[in-house]
């Protein structure tokens, strides 16, 4: 595993539902990557991650390295890109390509 470098975002899964979460502004958990708060300071991000690691609501709090481009932040590693975007499988017969849920 490559050494973690800033910038990063903070992610977790929702304990009750398992859904992927990203920490947004004002330390609110959001369901989409686009709203994630980007941390340029790794130490600050680590401290924040420890603060928001509430075992009664979230599970697996961790930092994810991102890169900044013209369209905003995006995960550096493909694993996190897949995690952020959802399964990349084809759509079901009769479903639209926007509703990619495998099958």
């Amino acid at each position: 595993m490559a050494k973690l470098v800033a910038p990063v975002v903070i992610t977790a899964n929702c304990l009750a539902t398992g859904a992927v979460l990203y920490l947004g502004p004002e330390r609110r958990w959001l369901g989409n990557f686009a709203g994630a708060q980007v941390y340029e300071d790794l130490s600050a991000a680590t401290a924040t991650a420890a603060d928001v690691d509430d075992p009664a609501t979230v599970i697996g709090v961790e930092l994810v390295a991102v890169k900044i481009s013209g369209s905003g932040a995006e995960p550096r590693h493909y694993r996190e890109a897949i995690r952020a975007c959802g399964p990349g499988a084809y759509a079901l017969p009769g479903e639209t390509g926007d509703n990619r849920v495998s099958v």
């Binding site: 992927v20 897949i82 995690r83 499988a89």
Partner: protein
Amino acid sequence: MGLAPTRFPVKLVITVYRYNDFDRQFLRERVAQYRDQVKRRLSGALTEEEFKPLRLMNGVYLQLHAYMMRVAIPYGTLSAHQMRGLADIAERWDRGYGHFTTRQNIQFNWPKLVDTPDILAALADLDMHAIQTSGNTIRNVTTDHLAGAALDEIADPRPYAEWIRQWSTDHPEFQFLPRKFKIAISGGVTDRAVVRAHDIGLRLVPGMDGVAFDVYVGGGLGRTPVVGTRLFEQVPVSELLAYLEAIVAVYNLHGRRDNKYKARIKILLHTMGLDNFKKEIKSYIEQNSDAFNGLELADLARIQAGFEMQALPPREGGAYWERINAEPSFREWVERVVTPHRKEDYASVTISLKAHGQAPGDATAAQMRAMADLADAVGFSELRVSHQQNIVLPHVALADLPEVFERLCRHGLATANIGLISDLIACPGMDYCALATARSIPIGQRIATRYEPMEQLLGPLSIKISGCINACGHHHIGDIGILGLDKAGMEHYQVTLGGRPGLDTALGEKMGPGFSEAELMGALDRLFDRYLTLREASSEAFAETVLRLGTEPFKAALYGVEHAA
């Protein structure tokens, strides 16, 4: 008393095992325990560290995007009623589909933790559960998907598989083994259960009491693939559980717990040596001879009687013979998906869950219901899940095949590709799995669609894709194995050639450096061109050409090197 081999008269078959009151009470209590565990976790009374082993014991994982529940389908057999119930679960608590796995189970990829107790309760109402589908325990016992129907069958392995399931479920000593433990059992002359790729592989052979068991130990794929060794021959039915108990107990005692990559029984066998291992087994059996005193045979008799018995009435072929001669699409489907049955007016039908471009092994709730309805209509209400991630109707009268074809066509389930390149196995890979190092489903989809126009030309060919070294996609035993790895932050795919399942199991030979996804398709193009050039006749399958010539010319093709031949 239970020792009669489970080879029934040709006109009789057993279908599904009926739970008794004890089984149902056991499941109800287990669901109640789990419901309380979830409640305590959500209230904060249990930490994740405390809760994780409890949810895993009930088949609940946390994956990449969501929780996943793996439901046991013992030896791949389920009733139409159960299949319909799985469809209801998929619609009510998941996203309307399920994924059939290489261990003949089904996985739901999107359940919410808060709903999992209700899902387990719904499963219990179906006489189903998710117990021991995870964790370091004895997992779902797998077997031949053609059990009870195959022409070459020595005995139906499923009563023995159920016997092993009941022995191993909640076994007090075997809930925390060094690692997970997998058992397969085959009842045919041909091994369709890949017994030599299991921690214990059992093969029914003619013997005392009509049948006996050859016992293979120490097989497994994964990080260190090993072909299982036949350690014991002609083990009588009356001694089977004593042998199984001894093997697992010796493994439990001596297996490594300090390094999970060296914790499987195959490593122990290698470390101890075959002779020492066998001595330990014999010694354990002698010391514990009181534990198996014949009561277990009464259990086997009870279990055999617990299976529903079904008579297959004689049927005239009728419309089948007219249609097979008149309609090419029907004939092509029959040639690909129908397997001869031991009763000559019947057949087994494999329903492909590999429509080109579809995720291998996935079925929608509507498709599950369609298959259940079909099983009720023409298949004696029984279905099987194959380790190749397809569904099988084991007993269908030839006369009913036209109706089966028409109904499957209506539901997108009549793809005539069994045994062809698009009938590939792929694990969930990084689209779902938290352990994966690369995606496998999209690779499978690309291969299936890319080579669809030439798959008849290529003939029988198995591709198996794993998204990590754990090898859930069985890539070691594919004609072509593809292993997805993370190479410097990029998905790369390593190719193996020459693997095969069966009693002469062979592990594929690694060809060389991995390919990017884009490079992989070009490499496969060259590989298939080389095969089509080198095969002696169109009847020589890819695997046969590789066996005849060795892998070298194909390795050269993969990497774009000219070959002199």
